[in-house]
């Protein structure tokens, strides 16, 4: 007998579970079919102990299932418990082979021959059931696998990882400890993966921990007739740039991603919008595909994140049940938007904003909703200062109505610039990561849309039109600020239009020695160093922070560049070709004096460096240590440091017993020591992947971590300078005298782990306390003592004056001082 259900849900992942749970709650006849013998097979296949994120954090969860960031194990367990509790109608090992029919009378055929009748079908099977294979002979041999759950399972094996994405890299790194690991990359670099993973794998390859075949593809895989003496079972043949290469292997792990099961979908009658193998079915607002009654949710509908997929599961059931619910973010958005005059619903308000603010025009409605979730409307009263010049804040503002005035030079108030509704400001700090270049004051009836740095950068990355529009205005304003102050930026539009933005990676050459003197550049983000060949040796002769010019000396002297200019970090320049610059000088004589000043300053610096060639080595050293992207760096003069560690103790004492700096660690050069401590980068690496968005920059420039930290450790692994630690912060401090005279508590500034005798004596109490309130480790890093009046405690506590904090623009002064001392 064929069973009959109102809804058949295919795939018990986050989306399917959520849908089934909701159907269960609403008493709808349903069945959940799962091909695996357990729930959530994709998450089940994650590497053991993997920390799963619950992005986007602002989005509420709407599901009968709970979901919060946590380990793979805790999530699977909670879902299993919930399913048992609900007594879900779930059928395991039920692989669907075909879906035929139409709304009201679908027939779902299973692998074992069973057939199920369904009025509606929800496809929530994800893509992991359809992993991309090697695409070469032998791809299904038993020692070729496409997933890795527990890297500790393998030991002393020769393992080849195929792929260059995050999972390939993570697998390779996890296996490399106790195995002989090779990685095969189709390209000549790792470009697809997260920055941190790229760094880690590159380092592992450099250190010889992992061997990499770049620009290589799989020719074929063969089983060895007889396992080799070391137990290798297979032979891998690669096509490399230097011809064929063969490897005897124990195991091949290919991590090539997954693609939608195209054949199956097409057999169901679902149309795919393009021939691209990664194309997903198009669905309407209720997730219905082109086949009426056939719904697609989750990864297969293009929603790769878990939380939105779970929400979709909930919503699709309501849609099928005939009582569709408003999107989950509706209420949140309405709270943000209801103060706008004359709007009655979210859509209307968003439309109004899109009409009013030019650069938002190209966003789709969904993108606009997401953008608004990360933004807020503010209504400052006239005269309110939005931000001050030299502040380190990094929000981005769009003017919806009323006006604001921007003053770049407080001494010349009549140069104030008034913005019109639809324009934006704050882009300089967003792009450069540096201090605010102007003071902005609200005018009458001012309504502003304020967006976080993170949301804005995400939007610029995902919508090229937005990036273009912001860059267009930013180039005008930057040229105006640095070359022609006092002129309305619009007058520079024709010049800005013919300028371009160039992006450089660390160590990329911006100008080669000998290049023709026909390009002028302005650094708008990052920094550069200038090298010159002196008697056969490349010597660093200068350092160029944000706002510096490149190429003005050759251009004005009409001689080829004598120097090589290299990017020290990810760097962006505005490129102005010679003839454009000359036109600009013709029209605005002020440009000339700006350039003259810069030439003088450059020559002065060069003379300095020429007198002290060793200073160049110091600059090169400092660049290697990330000073080029830092905004505030702790530096210790080794000729003064007496190793008393008062800096560390002060740090621990003012930060709950966890020191955020390690004085002794970190490199030294020419008696200058750079301890392991935060550099407060202009574009902080730690911010790149913070799920609760807990890392911010305060107005004085300090990059700090809020209490909302969930302890995931992403920032720790993203920081290239190793300055973030995971620690438990203590609440109570004991006073110096009660410690000194009565032996109470720990010494001031004592760190975790050096508990005093007294604490040891009370060990059992302490243990009991700890187990009663388990504390999670949170990320801690230098916050430059932002709560303390006198500034950073490490520097103030240094008895000999050895410790200072330095902004890169002051670096020239430091070099000057050291030169003076040397001579």
């Amino acid at each position: 007998m064929t069973e009959q259900f109102k809804i058949v849900i295919v795939g018990a992942g986050p989306a399917g579970l959520s849908a089934a749970g909701r159907a269960h709650e609403l008493d709808i006849a349903y069945v959940l079919l799962e091909s695996a013998p357990h729930l959530a097979n994709t998450i089940y296949a994650y590497q053991k102990g993997k920390y799963v994120m619950a992005e986007p954090s602002v989005l509420p969860l709407r599901s009968p299932y709970e979901f919060a960031a946590g380990t793979r194990e805790s999530i699977l367990e909670s879902w299993q418990q919930r399913s048992d509790q609900l007594d879900l109608n779930i059928r395991y090992r039920a692989e669907v082979t075909a879906i035929q029919g139409q709304q009201g009378q679908f027939t779902v055929s299973l692998q074992n021959g069973d057939q199920i009748a369904a009025e509606n079908v929800v496809l929530s099977m994800g893509m992991q059931g359809n992993l991309r294979k090697l695409g070469a002979e032998g791809e299904d041999l038993p020692f070729v696998q496409y997933q890795l759950q527990d890297p500790d399972e393998f030991e002393d094996e020769t393992i080849v990882i195929v792929g260059a994405g995050d999972s390939a890299i993570e697998n390779a790194l996890a296996l490399a400890g106790q195995n002989n690991v090779y990685i095969v990359n189709r390209r000549d670099e790792f470009a697809r993966a997260k920055e941190r993973n790229v760094q880690l794998i590159t380092k592992a390859i450099e250190d010889g921990v992992i061997d990499c075949f770049y620009s290589s593809s799989i020719n074929r895989v063969e089983a060895l007739v007889q396992a080799s003496s070391n137990g290798e079972q297979g032979l891998l043949v690669l096509n490399t740039a230097d011809g064929e290469a063969t490897l005897e292997v124990h195991r091949i792990i290919a991590r090539l991603g997954a693609i939608p099961p195209r054949k199956f979908l097409e057999a169901c009658g679902i149309e795919l919008p393009s021939a691209d193998p990664s194309a997903v079915p198009a669905v309407d607002q209720y997730y219905q595909s082109n086949v009426a009654g056939l719904y697609v949710i989750g990864e297969l509908s293009g929603a790769p994140l878990i939380k939105p997929s779970m929400n979709q599961g909930y919503e699709v059931i309501h849609a099928i049940n005939g009582d569709p619910v408003a999107p989950v973010d509706e209420e949140l958005l309405w709270d943000k938007l209801n103060q706008l005059v004359g709007v009655s619903n979210v859509k209307q308000a968003l439309d109004l904003l899109q009409q009013g603010i030019a650069f938002l025009g190209s966003l789709t409605h969904m993108q606009m909703r997401e953008f608004m979730l990360d933004s807020e409307l503010i209504f400052p009263s006239p005269g309110t200062v939005i931000y001050q010049k030299n502040d380190y804040s990094d929000e981005f503002y769009s003017l919806f109505s009323g006006d604001v005035s921007l003053i770049a030079n407080i001494d010349v108030p009549d140069q104030a610039m008034n913005l019109q509704p639809g324009e934006f400001f704050g882009e300089w700090s967003l792009i450069s990561g540096r201090r605010r270049a102007e003071t902005v004051t609200a005018g009458k009836n001012c309504v502003l849309l304020k967006t976080s740095r993170r949301a804005m950068r995400k939007l610029m990355l995902s919508v090229p039109d937005v990036q273009q529009e912001i860059d267009r205005i930013a180039v005008q304003r930057t040229l105006q600020h640095f070359l022609v102050p006092g002129v309305p930026p619009e007058m520079l539009e024709p010049y800005a239009q013919r300028s371009s933005i160039e992006r450089f990676k660390p160590h990329d050459v911006i100008v080669h020695a000998g290049d023709a003197p026909d390009v002028f550049r302005l650094i708008r983000c990052g920094s550069a160093m200038v090298k010159r060949n002196l008697s056969g040796k490349d010597v660093v002769v200068s350092f160029l922070p944000v706002g510096s010019f490149i190429g003005e000396v050759p251009l004005l002297s009409e001689k080829p560049s004598r120097e090589t200019v290299l990017a020290t970090v990810n760097t962006e320049t505005i490129r102005v070709d010679r003839d454009i610059l000359i036109e600009l000088m013709d029209q605005f004589p002020a440009v000339r004096s700006r350039l003259d000043m810069s030439v003088q300053e450059t020559l002065r610096k060069e003379i300095q460096f020429a007198n002290h060639p060793e200073a160049g080595d110091l600059v090169a050293f400092m660049m290697d240590q990330g000073i080029g992207e830092g905004t505030d760096v702790l530096m210790i003069d080794e000729t003064l440091c007496v190793h008393c560690d008062n800096c560390e103790t002060a740090c621990a004492d003012t930060h709950g017993g966890v020191s955020r700096l390690d004085r002794e660690a970190g490199p030294s050069f020419a008696y200058l020591h750079i301890p392991t401590s935060c550099r407060h980068c202009e574009h902080p690496h730690c911010m790149t992947d913070c799920p609760p968005d807990a890392i911010h920059r305060a107005t004085n420039g300090e990059v700090y971590i809020e209490d909302s930290c969930i302890g995931c450790g992403n920032c720790q692994s993203n920081c290239p300078y190793g300055v973030i630690q995971m620690g438990v912060v203590k609440e109570n401090k004991t006073s110096l005298f009660s410690w000194l005279l009565f032996g109470k508590g720990n010494a001031p500034g004592s760190k975790d782990g050096d508990a005093s005798q007294n604490d040891k004596a009370n060990g059992s109490d302490k243990l009991a306390q700890e187990s009663a309130t388990p504390k999670i480790k949170k990320a801690v890093k230098c916050d430059m003592c932002k709560g303390l009046v006198g500034g950073a405690a490490c520097v103030r506590a240094c008895p000999t004056g050895a410790a200072i904090r330095l902004a890169p623009e002051k670096m020239v002064d430091l070099l000057r001082e050291r030169n003076r001392r040397a001579s």
Binding site: E638, V642, Y671, G749, L788, G790
Partner: protein
């Protein structure tokens, strides 16, 4: 920019200290009391009060140094003041005595003060001289890295020794088992120059062992050679070749031991320098406490027997 506590704010506290000393001396020279100059004249009391306040304030440095969240000026400023005013204290306190010394509690307080100041001067000397030496001795390595490398070298040495013979292995093992970096007070301060070092005897043994090996090889080479004998010689030279391989291993081992020795020397020097930078405080601070006690007794007794 970096500014040493000596130069803090353009030697501000040095100037204050000189001014204080100069004023004290001038007053002392100008003042002609009716009795012999002593702590009991009005100037004596004035100088004594200034000195006592200075002593208490100088001792307060220890507490201020640990008040890490204080927003008053930098500790390097406080140290600068501590150093220069501490030196000025010699002038102020000595003039306070009116050069009246005796075997009493008053002179005890003065004596302790001088001891504290002299130990402080030694501290200043160390602070001025040692940091640079410490840094250049480290050659950019941390203590941890130095110890790690010593461990690596030990392993290499053991591996090589194992390939030579068991006697060598035993000697190297002995040199490895003994801790290379010493912990006792005297060993720290003398950088291990006192007492025998197992590494030295290992090195001596290796040198002797190598000489023996080379001697054996040379002996073979020294044999007269001709015809059939030469062929035989050639064969035994192959045997000697095996010895030669041993000699190579031994040379590598000796190089490793040598490297370890120099690194160990640097590590010991590091321990010594760091100990020197800290140990003087173990004298300076307790004697300061004693001084405070003696000072209290001095003041109370002066008022009690007035």
């Amino acid at each position: 920019m970096h500014e040493s506590f000596f130069r803090y704010q353009n030697f501000f506290w040095l100037k204050v200290a000189i001014a204080l000393s100069a004023v004290s001396i001038a007053l002392y020279a100008w003042h002609t009391p009716s009795v012999v100059a002593n702590g009991g004249t009005w100037l004596g009391y004035t100088l004594g009060t200034v000195a006592a306040v200075l002593i208490v304030w100088l001792a307060w440095f220890g507490a201020r140094k640990r008040d890490y969240s204080s927003s008053s000026s930098k500790i390097s400023g406080w140290l600068s003041a501590h150093v220069y005013l501490g030196l000025a204290l010699i002038v102020v306190a000595t003039l306070h005595t009116g050069f009246q010394f005796g075997w009493n509690v008053h002179t005890l307080a003065y004596g302790l003060m001088i001891v504290v100041i002299v130990s402080g001067m030694y501290g200043i000397y160390l602070y001025a001289m040692l940091p640079g030496r410490l840094a250049s001795n480290r050659q950019g390595m941390t203590r941890e890295q130095m110890l790690d490398e010593i461990r690596d070298l030990d392993e290499t040495a053991l591996g090589l020794a194992d390939q030579i013979d068991s006697r060598v292995h035993e000697v190297i093992l002995r040199s490895v088992e003994k801790p290379g970096v010493m912990l006792s007070f005297w060993q720290q301060l003398t950088a291990g120059k006192l007492g025998k070092d197992p590494l030295d005897s290992a090195e001596r043994f290796l040198r002797g062992y190598q000489n023996d090996l080379v001697d054996a090889t040379l002996f073979l080479d020294a044999q007269p050679q001709s015809g059939a004998q030469a062929t035989m010689m050639y064969i035994s030279n192959v045997m000697a070749g095996m010895e030669a391989e041993k000699v190579d291993k031994l040379r590598a081992l000796m190089e490793t031991v040598g490297r370890k020795k120099s690194l160990l020397k640097r590590t010991r020097r590091d321990v010594q320098l760091k100990a020197l930078l800290q140990l003087w405080l173990f004298f300076h601070v307790p004697v300061s406490m004693a001084l405070l006690a003696a000072l209290l007794i001095h003041i109370i007794s002066v008022f009690l027997y007035w």
